[in-house]
């Protein structure tokens, strides 16, 4: 089966937005996961709850909140537009922001578990050997948490690919800009007589999701095996 230009466009956009979403949430995700894994502080439960909110909130609510915050009239959006000339709503970057926010908790959860499993004694040993905190993090903590980092990244990527509600609310459904696979599929279903095309897109979505899951499983298993062999 050959794909139509519109289908290619949807696939390209989905991958682009998924990758961009993962790319921007990785640095804050790693920082937040490390902070939660290694620090005890008052109100930790509240911070934890806030981070997990996108998992349980209706995605439309997240999209709406993003619009309030980052829209042209929004609190941050206004500043972004007037000083940097950036406007996020109705752009593919905006879609990446929305799907990134939705994927954030999945990344943090997986990574945090892995970071918590790293023995603090190894970090203490590194610090007695003269390593700075940053150096310890990059040479000891993070390499030992790679399985969680991989799992979290792939989960987040898959979540970003399938994101619908927040994206359509915040970035709308613009062909060639924000119409990712789920949005294209939704549009087709709304159009009478497009059932066959919709089915094709459906299959494509399943294939992409399966491929990324298999790839992640393979990667995670390989690194976990490498680390586990060195356990004990």
């Amino acid at each position: 089966m050959t794909l139509s230009p519109a289908e290619w466009e949807a696939i390209r956009l989905s991958l682009l937005i998924g990758l961009a979403a993962v790319a921007w949430i990785l640095p804050p995700g790693i920082a937040v996961a490390w902070w939660l894994a290694r620090h005890e502080f008052r109100g930790k439960a509240i911070v934890d709850g806030l981070i997990h909110l996108p998992l349980v909130l209706p995605p439309v609510v997240v999209g709406y909140l993003l619009l309030v915050a980052l829209g042209r009239q929004g609190v941050i959006g206004q500043w972004l537009y007037s000083t940097l000339g950036i406007s996020l709503p109705f752009t593919w970057q905006g879609a990446a922001v929305a799907s990134g926010v939705m994927a954030f908790p999945l990344l943090v959860r997986a990574l945090r578990l892995s970071l918590e499993a790293v023995d603090p004694k190894l970090e203490a040993a590194a610090s007695t050997l003269g390593a700075s905190r940053w150096r310890i993090f990059t040479t000891i903590t993070l390499p030992l948490a790679v399985p969680g980092l991989l799992t979290g990244t792939v989960l987040a990527f898959a979540r970003a690919l399938s994101e619908f509600g927040a994206t359509i609310t915040f970035a709308s459904n613009i062909p060639g800009e924000t119409r990712t696979l789920p949005l294209a599929l939704y549009t087709l279903i709304q159009t009478p007589g497009q059932e066959a095309t919709a089915a094709r897109l459906c299959i494509i979505a399943i294939v992409i999701a399966l491929l990324s899951l298999i790839a992640s499983e393979w990667l995670a298993r390989r690194t976990r095996q490498r680390l586990q062999e060195r356990d004990g």
Binding site: A124, A125, A126, S127, L129, S132, R135, T139, E229, G232
Partner: protein, 359 residues
């Protein structure tokens, strides 16, 4: 480099871990911090390293105050009980770690690092493991690698936290002799934490006995074993028999036995406790002295060349442990169930409130 601990206190919530401890560790000495678990010895070690901050008090290295220096700047080598080797790195990378994380301007060249790491691996007799991973080594080998890693940064002081605690008895004995020889070669000021009195007495130049966050005694291995400062040290360093005694005019009375106790001269019929080590109990087959306690042998256990006896005295029903050589025991012709007479050859008498005196 000497280490000075000046009135250090540390508590965790309402648990007092270190209670106003002042100590000096001399340059080049190997000192054992000995105590039961919860005695504060590991906390004190971690405070010296900078892994914990004291609530109050100062730490000085060779007179220089290091209390507020970050652990990475203190120049200490630290060896953990469970090795704490970096499992994602080879043995070589582990030992080289302290050198490779140095800022570029003070980092040795690759060739220098290589030479140094290989030299250290030879020192710990494990140069053939350079390209292996820690999981491929035995516990004793891992602990030697951990030591090589700590020595790579040329620490001013070497701190070891129960370094042999996770190893089996034979390897432990081998490794502590090896550590003793290594220390004689490199002479870096070293402090090691242990709860094993035998280990402390065998390896160290000096033993600091701790209990409940406080220093109970500080002295040479011989001093703490032969002249314990108080009943705690007596009990902690080996087995001991306790006899209730009456102190009267410079004499301690245990049943019919009279022991000289000149330091209790002014006392009249005061209660005291006499501490006697098992090897300081003389066992006799016949009543040769008036001042011997009649007793019965309840248990005989032969441990290699020594014999341990459990005896029960006839009049006070006290259980007494005695230790003598197998040869001597056989010459007495005694066996389980026999009558025997015992008398302490040496004792140390404390008043019940732990005030100290010699006997």
């Amino acid at each position: 480099m000497s280490i000075e601990i000046d009135h250090v206190n540390k508590h965790f919530r309402d648990f007092v871990a270190v209670d106003n401890v002042s100590l000096t560790f001399n340059e080049g000495e190997l000192t054992a911090l000995l105590g039961p678990s919860g005695s504060g010895k590991t906390t004190l070690l971690r405070i010296i390293a900078g892994l914990e901050q004291p609530d109050t008090g100062r730490i000085r290295f060779h007179g220089e105050d290091t209390t507020d220096k970050h652990v990475s700047q203190r120049g200490v080598g630290f060896v953990f009980q469970h090795y704490a080797l970096f499992k994602h790195m080879t043995v070589f990378q582990n030992v080289a770690y302290g050198l490779t994380v140095r800022p570029r301007q003070s980092r040795p060249s690759k060739a220098d690092i290589n030479a140094k790491v290989m030299h250290l691996l030879e020192l710990v007799q494990l140069d053939w493991t350079a390209h292996r991973y820690p999981h491929q080594l035995s516990g004793g080998q891992r602990q030697r690698i951990a030591l090589a890693r700590a020595l790579a940064v040329e620490p001013k002081v070497l701190l070891l936290d129960e370094p042999f605690g996770a190893l089996d008895a034979k390897v432990r004995a081998e490794l502590r002799r090896w550590l003793r020889r290594l220390h004689d070669d490199i002479h870096v000021t070293s402090v090691f934490v242990t709860h094993d009195q035998e280990e402390a007495l065998e390896v160290s130049d000096r033993v600091v006995v701790m209990n409940k966050g406080r220093v109970e005694q500080d002295g040479s291995p011989e001093q703490v074993y032969d002249t314990p400062a108080n009943p705690f040290v007596y009990r902690f360093l080996g087995n001991v028999n306790l006899f209730h005694a009456r102190l009267h005019d410079g004499v301690a009375r245990i049943g019919d036995i009279q022991l000289p106790a000149p330091e209790f001269h002014g006392y009249h019929n005061e209660r005291g406790e006499a501490y006697v080590r098992p090897h300081e109990i003389e066992v006799l087959a016949t009543r040769q002295h008036d001042d011997a306690l009649h007793s019965q042998i309840e248990l005989v256990s032969v441990i290699g060349p020594t014999v341990r006896l459990e005896l029960r005295t006839n009049n006070t029903e006290t259980l007494v442990h005695a230790e003598l050589s197998k040869h001597h025991f056989h010459s007495l012709g005694l066996k389980q169930g026999s009558d025997a007479w015992i008398r302490p050859t040496h004792s140390r008498i404390f008043l019940p409130d732990e005030r100290v005196a010699n006997g």
